[in-house]
């Protein structure tokens, strides 16, 4: 189109030998008449608009999980459990996180798919009168640590940077698999965070803060990278509801323990340990979840939850009077209504809604005897001869023996100094 407009403006003549190789103009266009310019302009504008729309169309297209039925076919459940507080008096935060750890493990999520971040060691803390155990109930004495526990990030490794890298999977080379969140577009993730927080921030280890916008950006990145299907974000800190206020990524259900300008409170103290052992919000969740068992479809306590209960049922058990704070739920980003999301979708490893293939659908592969070739041993890239040759005689690593001071060096230095002094005095005096 544009080429022909050019030709028209240039007044094409065949005899122009310097003309670059363009397709020969169609004389038929010149016969159209004076309205051709306007129609051509309009056509150009329309064409540009059409091209723009075509190019922009993919960005409007949402991933296939937009519709409610497709959200059901998640295939793996993960949990990221974060305790951000250090020091013995924050025992309850570690107990909160370990309570969630025990619950999700009990309901089926394996250790490989749980990332446990504990900012301090309480179980083997010298102040702990019950070695290697963490309790969340002064009367129950149930040990949360148990025999098999795997803490993936411990102590000083729990930082905002590591947490953000974990969510977005921007890890340095050689990061072990147990420290990575290896989710895909069919994963459901439970992200539970506890510690000290405030208006749109969460404090990590008394040194740095995670902002609500940072968290929202992390979830947005995860969505762009197709790293989750659905997320349940649960936070138990002071003013927790502000932490999820900026999340904009789809398919995120967020729950907080207290509203802006409200604190979240601890539940009770153990007189032997001397510290509070659990927070009220987590305690309320555990009270509800402890009655859920995979084996039985009925609740173990009357009126409690069972394995078919939904997130709405769980959130309905929160009592603001008992919690002394107002818990908040954010479900506007979720495609599924809360009543139709089973709690085992996040707290366990159930695959509700995963279609069980019927016999008719099954494709039977023909049995073929394949002789798999023995893979050749690939030579690991070794440094070339030149590179090795350069460093054949490396400078010594480690401490070098200190030899006795060579006397001739000392005399040389003394002689040089004397000579210098002599010259200077000579110059000064003369």
């Amino acid at each position: 189109m544009l080429v022909s407009v050019d030709n028209h403006l240039l007044g094409h003549t065949r005899t122009n030998a310097a003309r670059p190789s363009r397709p020969p103009p169609s004389h038929r266009r010149r016969e159209h008449g004076p309205t051709t310019t306007m129609t051509r302009t309009i056509a150009t504008i329309l064409a540009v608009l059409a091209v723009t729309l075509v190019l922009a169309l993919p960005s409007f297209a949402s991933p296939p999980a937009a519709n409610a039925t497709a959200a059901d076919d998640a295939t793996n459940n993960w949990a990221v459990l974060v305790c951000t507080s250090r020091y013995w008096f924050n025992y309850r935060h570690v107990a909160n996180t370990l309570s969630m750890y025990r619950t999700v493990k009990r309901l089926g999520i394996p250790d490989d798919q749980i990332l446990l971040l504990l900012a301090d060691d309480m179980a083997c803390n010298p102040r702990n009168s019950r070695p290697a155990s963490v309790i969340n109930n002064a009367e129950d004495r149930l040990d949360l640590y148990g025999d098999t526990v795997e803490v993936d990030y411990r102590g000083y490794e729990v930082t905002v940077e590591n947490f953000m890298r974990l969510l977005t999977d921007r890890m340095p080379e050689h990061t072990p698999r147990s420290k990575r969140l290896l989710t895909d577009e069919k994963s459901r993730i439970l992200v539970f965070m506890t510690g000290h927080g405030g208006d749109e921030f969460l404090k990590f280890q008394d040194k740095e803060e995670l902002g609500a916008q940072d968290l929202a950006d992390a979830f947005a990145q995860m969505w762009e990278k197709r790293r989750y299907r659905e997320v349940l974000f649960m936070v138990d800190t002071c003013q927790a509801n502000t932490l999820y206020s900026r999340i904009s990524a789809p398919n995120v259900v967020a729950v907080g323990s207290s509203a802006k300008d409200e604190s979240s409170y601890s539940h009770h103290m153990d007189m032997n340990l001397g510290v509070s052992v659990i927070d009220r919000f987590t305690y309320a969740n555990l009270e509800a979840l402890e009655s859920v068992h995979l084996a039985s479809a009925s609740a173990s306590s009357p009126g409690g939850l069972n394995r078919t209960s939904s997130l709405a049922d769980l959130f309905a058990t929160y009592d603001p009077v008992k919690l002394a704070s107002t818990p908040g739920v954010r479900s506007d980003l979720s495609k599924r209504p809360l009543e139709s999301i089973p709690i085992l979708d996040f707290f366990g490893a159930s695959l509700t809604g995963a279609k069980v293939p019927r016999d008719e659908d099954r494709v039977v592969l023909e049995a073929r005897l394949e002789v798999s070739p023995v893979p050749t041993v690939e030579k690991v890239a070794r440094p070339t001869e030149e590179e090795v040759g350069e460093s054949k005689a490396p400078r010594p690593v480690g401490p070098v023996k200190v030899g006795p001071a060579s006397s001739w060096r000392a005399y040389l230095h003394a002689a040089a100094l004397a000579g210098l002094v002599g010259i200077m005095s000579f110059v000064t005096l003369v």
């Binding site: 250090r86 020091y87 060691d121 179980a123 083997c124 803390n125 070695p131 290697a132 155990s133 640590y145 148990g146 025999d147 098999t148 526990v149 795997e150 803490v151 993936d152 411990r154 102590g155 000083y156 490794e157 080379e173 050689h174 990061t175 072990p176 698999r177 147990s178 420290k179 280890q205 008394d206 040194k207 002789v371 070739p373 023995v374 041993v377 690991v380 070794r382 440094p383 590179e387 090795v388 350069e390 460093s391 490396p394 690593v397 480690g398 401490p399 070098v400 023996k401 200190v402």
Partner: protein, 577 residues
Amino acid sequence: MNRSLALVALAVLYLVAIARTGHADATHAKSSSATDVFTEHLAVDTLPDGKVLFAFDFVTKRPWSSPGSRANENYDLFPRTLGQVLDRFGVEALDLTMTQGRWMHDAWGWPVDGYAAPPGFDVRAWLRTESRNATTLDKDWVGLTNALSGLFCGSLNFLDATNIATPALAYKDRQVSRVATVLRHGRLAREAVCTENLTPWGKLLPCSTKAGLAATLNGYRLFDADYHSIQTLVSISCTSKDGACTQQLTQRVVAVFNPLRQSNKPDWSFTSLMDRPWSRPACALAASSTLHVTLPDLPAGTFQLHPADYATVVISDKLVATFDLKRWSNTNDFRFEFPDPAPLLNSVFDHPPPTDFSVSRYLTDAGQERGILAADLINHRQVGDRTAQYTDVLPWFVREYLHTVTYTCYPLGHAAPVDGQVEGVWFQHGIDRQRPTVMEVQVTVPASHLCTLQVEYELANLQYAEFRPDAERGFEVGSGLVTLFLNGTRPARLPTAVDAKTSDVVRIHADIVQMQLPVPDFSMPYNVITFTCTVLAFYFGTMFSLTLSRAVSYRIGEKTKQPVVVKIDELGRHKDE
């Protein structure tokens, strides 16, 4: 023509397939001729102060070929997760210990080499240097520490070039001679050891912690012990005859319990200390499962070991009762009874120091800017000097000065100093934020002398972000290894050795010292930003309003008494109104 070609092609393919499967069979047959061997062993001893030592040893051996060979990729009982990590990063030998507590040499005597380990995490890796330059070694070290941190749930990834050392003297007796290797040693003195470290360690065992001796390990009691150490040691040894090499993985748990904490009597049983039933399902993969109990050095009749039908052997001059756990028919667990506890309690209180060499490490003259790091080496022997090597690795922010090293000896009980004999000093000065200071000194400690090695240091200023979250706690400077060469002179008191081989080197891990660096005011960046922004706001606001607004001069008209704007060109001239 086409059919014959097709037939020829088929024949060739058939032959190739045969050849490939044949090759696979050959390698398979070759590797299955030598198999992995797993043995478990528990050594029990009563220490001089009445405490009880348990040392569990789980040893897995497998045949090993040259590095990178295909035969090494067959894993049977040897854990693949660990073996592949070592293979990938070219590790000839690895010592990884996770310890809490100190081995109290003054109370417990000389440990078997390896029982005593420094507190926290300690990693020693001998990396093969063949066809790897320093850069590749650094990268492989990073990979190794990251892999181990994921494997053992510890923060080993913090060991980078700033806090690892290649000592010149220490661990030379462990240096392998098979290939050229370089030793890299790193230590995390503050690392906690808890159930999350025991869990993956246990999963490396062939029977995991479900059967065999490992099933008796109880974290609740183990982490309550006076001293506990969980160790993973890998090494390769070759016989000189036919060059057949064996890779050996030793997983060890050493724990020291105090029976008096469970009851008021010195009687104890396995269950009373470990709180686990002694009879567990046996590990069918174990080639042997044995128990050695060292009988205490007490008069007969004052103690009784149950079950009473045991065979005794003499190991390291001590009487040891041996049991074969595979044929343990008694359903009861083994226990010690002391019908007459008086000799035991007397020996606890009256026993002379079981070791004749003590080490004490401390700070003196220490402040937030400078101080002196000192180590006391005490030779209690009446006759006979001792040669000791002292190795110290200090972080880069502790700047030691080589010219301030002093070594002074005092006869025991006297105050008059005598110049000590220093045989050599090996020094690597630290470079800020790049490498630590390493100082190694070989000295002679005369008989009945106390010798003090002192060196002055200065503390550097750390940047704001280099402090840990608990900055006021300071930094643990955890090293101070004293290597003692005994030259055949060991006191008789020694915990039971796993095998009768006793090494002539004793390693004493000195105390950890804690240095408090001056901590900055961490709120200062916030204060600076607030103040600077305020000043800028005032300045900017003023300037902005000045540039936007126009200054206009006016005068009050004499008659109208109203302000009259004076134009610039009229300034200086009075107009009559």
